[in-house]
Symmetry: D2
């Protein structure tokens, strides 16, 4: 049953982001966006927010291209991982199999979405380094005044959102909380979750070219004010602010989108006290007509938001 499968996967764990401007991207994430550096190895930096309990929620990897390397979800238990592996093996999607862990977690089971996005599930994980403790023992690391508290979600692009939805339901047991239904009958976008967060992954329709592209990666802030202050800091640092701060109509999230130096879109977001607690939540369905009203307070979605993704379409 969907609900029980859903409980096998605990939460979005980390995203690997590829950059062809490694030094500049690392400087952005640590000095402007506000993540902490857990470790550096040959070609990757392991980053986390101040209240991420895991060692790494953003693996930033030097690469000839940009976009997303892989997406890792942590499972609810070792037994849950076994159940998920069996389900995925039976489903017919492309399976990469077991992959050695890295600085941040143990071995992981890897598989692909039909659109080339690489996913992994893992149980064994490393915790945030203990040499950076907070004065409050219920906080993962020392609070440093910067906005991102924890990883929030990732938004991927695909040419067939309905097919992507099937993949998410079968492989991760995700449920859909909101979606866009286009006039042509297609799904324009789907927002998924495996827990009480209103979403941990979104898939929206690819309007450019390419496989497995990334739309954006997002961290959560405690307050909306954190995002307003961050906007001023992005301005001072010369970061490209694409759109926001404003409030999404879908999901009601207060948002701000910028591009890190390599062109990957990153967001800061605040959902207030919103959670999906209802076990029988019916997905909210948005029509094209409703989308034409713009964002919650009327901001028109700017063109680049519909077209820009990483890696760039060729």
């Amino acid at each position: 049953m969907t609900v029980e499968l859903g409980n096998d996967v605990a939460h979005l764990g980390h995203v690997e982001l590829l950059t062809d401007q490694f030094e500049a991207s690392l400087a952005f994430f640590t000095q402007v966006y506000g993540l902490k550096l857990s470790a550096l190895d040959g070609s990757s930096a392991y980053l986390r927010a101040w209240d991420d309990y895991e060692f790494c929620t953003l693996k930033l990897t030097s690469s000839p291209q940009t976009g997303v390397g892989h997406i890792g979800y942590r499972v609810a238990s070792k037994a849950a991982l076994d159940r998920r592996v069996a389900a995925i093996n039976a489903a017919g999607y492309k399976v990469h199999g077991w992959h050695d862990g890295d600085e941040s977690h143990g071995s992981a089971f890897r598989f692909e979405s039909p659109f080339g996005h690489l996913f992994e599930l893992y149980w064994d994980t490393n915790r945030a380094p203990s040499d950076d403790p907070s004065a409050l023992k219920n906080t993962a690391s020392r609070f440093t005044g910067v906005p991102p508290r924890r990883i929030d979600h990732v938004n991927l692009l695909s040419s067939d959102v309905a097919e992507f939805r099937r993949f998410m339901e079968i492989c991760l047991g995700s449920r859909v909380t909101e979606m866009i239904k286009l006039n042509n009958g297609r799904l324009g976008g789907c927002w998924f979750t495996v827990n009480n967060k209103s979403y941990d992954l979104a898939c929206t329709e690819e309007h450019g070219k390419g496989q497995g592209r990334l739309h954006h990666l997002t961290y959560a802030t405690d307050q909306r004010e954190d995002i307003l202050r961050a906007a001023d800091l992005f301005l001072e640092a010369g970061v490209h602010i694409e759109t926001g701060p404003h409030k999404h109509a879908i999901q009601g999230t207060f948002f701000l989108y910028v591009w890190e130096p390599a062109g990957n879109r990153v967001e800061l977001a605040n959902a207030g006290a919103r959670l999906i607690l209802a076990p029988d939540w019916e997905p909210v369905v948005w029509t094209e007509e409703e989308r034409k009203k713009g964002q919650a307070w009327g901001l028109k979605t700017i063109e680049s938001f519909h077209t820009h993704g990483t890696p760039p379409a060729k």
Copy 2:
């Protein structure tokens, strides 16, 4: 296994609060605290916050006394309810059995904590009235500018917190996220959750007299600013502000406590973006010495916070 049992119960659904000042309490909750009135029957008012998806999260009942009537949790499915009923029947706690529903939900299975708190589990529920829609279809009711977005948690008193913990784990499958360990080896308090919220119920040690007493009931706000503004409104309305706004060391919640006209303590709280996502979260344990530092920013806990509960000790 605990984890799987935990998944049977979806979330705290509602709390019944008893008042011997029904009219004044109702005026407080609807005109000052900011809840919406879903319905009134003979002796109860059914109230909800603007984003509570259920018809009622606070059942306010006229009574010769104050305190808590019962605490309702909604289960994850009908099958989950059957499993919970079997587990509770087997556990040896006092069972009241099936109870007819009311304006807000279908039939419920009732049972008692060892300290006289009445609990119920239910599946069938009624939704927030549709005649008060929000402009945003993913919001349960029209936003009216008032702080409480949804019900958050309830805090009960008991003479033996360890025993209360056993009750919560067996009957609800709750897990403990934080706790106080006293120098005498007893538990001073336990914070429980059945989902990703950091807590939905707390039990702290009874320092007065009486059985089944309530410490406080809490609704969540979207932002800390909502609580600062509410403090000014409570001041203007002549409401007794007991303590706050300030930040708890335990759970890190930004809080404000007031007494409604009948003396029941109610809180507004904001947890920022904090969630318990780790499936293997180890409870945070606070010592007496750590508690002596006061709240997060040094505020000393005031005396009435340790002694006042409802109904008053006789």
Copy 3:
């Protein structure tokens, strides 16, 4: 000397707004925007914010047209009023002379800008009604949880901003804190103040037709969060949100613009802790090229902001 003349005028006192939808406009200002009704006479409503010390800061007047009726500044003393009257009489602008007061203040000296905007200066004034006291005796009226704390500024349109500037300096002793210098050498806009506020009146170039038109009227909020919450309330009330919330590059004000039912543009704004304290402040000059960057965080100014004014151009 300019500085000493400047000290003769204490602050912007009130604005008279004309509406051809009196009932709807009054409902908007009292039920959505959040002003208090001090009094009603034949054709006008006298409104104020919760911390305006005067009886009226917005006089809303039923009229066949929209736009601004007059702008009132309060002087620093009776002697200061005499000095100002002498200076204005000597200046050659169109003078209307002494005008009887109304519900809100005593007799006022009236005169016109070269573009037909009617101004008045007055000393005797009435205070906010005493029957609506705050629990805090240093607050003008009872805080009701709504955003506008006090009147902030008004923005007028003129076909020659440099000429308007001369008028403001001579008649009110205003100083310019910021301005736009166009590539053609003209002033695109000027921000004026008579005190430590960074501006109390702005004049921007008229791009439509008509004399004496209003661009917008603004009240100040205590916090930026008040404006975000107001945006949700405007959305729920079906109010036309024109642009924002966002931060102006000029003056750094956090803003939100809506249209009241008759089409007059009204703003909520927050300047944080910004004040102009330097007695020798040099006006900040913005070029066309700098303006092309959009607002502070990159929002492009929308078309209607350049063209819409009241009364509508014919």
Copy 4:
């Protein structure tokens, strides 16, 4: 006339703070509290907030003792300085005469309060260094995400507040906006301003021993949220948080008090949009009975707030 004299003095310019822990105090102010270092000379650091237009608003000076060195106010013009000097020379207070300037301003006229507080008035001043520009040209220096936007006020102690008030009115032309009237007829405290800020200097009754003691020095933040976030940063840095965040009843300021390493009390404060615009403002008078209600939301004033000052009483 008082009003015109008042206009001679433009604003509080800077405060010299003495520390017997120079390195630790400097680290606190630059790394935790959030000021910028403009310059260092032999024994002093010249500090400013990100939107202070002057080179220095806090002169931190190494000294065998703590407390306040001197308080500098900037005048409105050179002619205004001459008028003030004449008035002070005629008043009979202890005059130190002209004092050479320092890194931050030109020559200053120095004189003493009857309680030994050293004041100076000056016109020529240096601006914030131009090598740290903001992306917004109307902002004095680059925004760095830290709370203090500009210097706000200083609070001094004296054994006779009424006598101190006479001194402020005669020498600076200050006006009183709020005061405490004790049951014994004495003034318990007076809040002064020379401009539209609700206060730039407060004097409260000395309950310890010593002459010319400092109660606290305060910088203003843009938003209340800045203060809540700062509280977490003070906690992480092990700074002694004395009281707050909370809202003062007097002046309505949202506040947070900490002690810098040498024991001088420093505050972060936010007054929202409050300004004193009325030219005929009547001082708000608070009684002892009203003060017993505690701060605005009921917080009891803690004992050290009444007794701790610097230098420590001997």
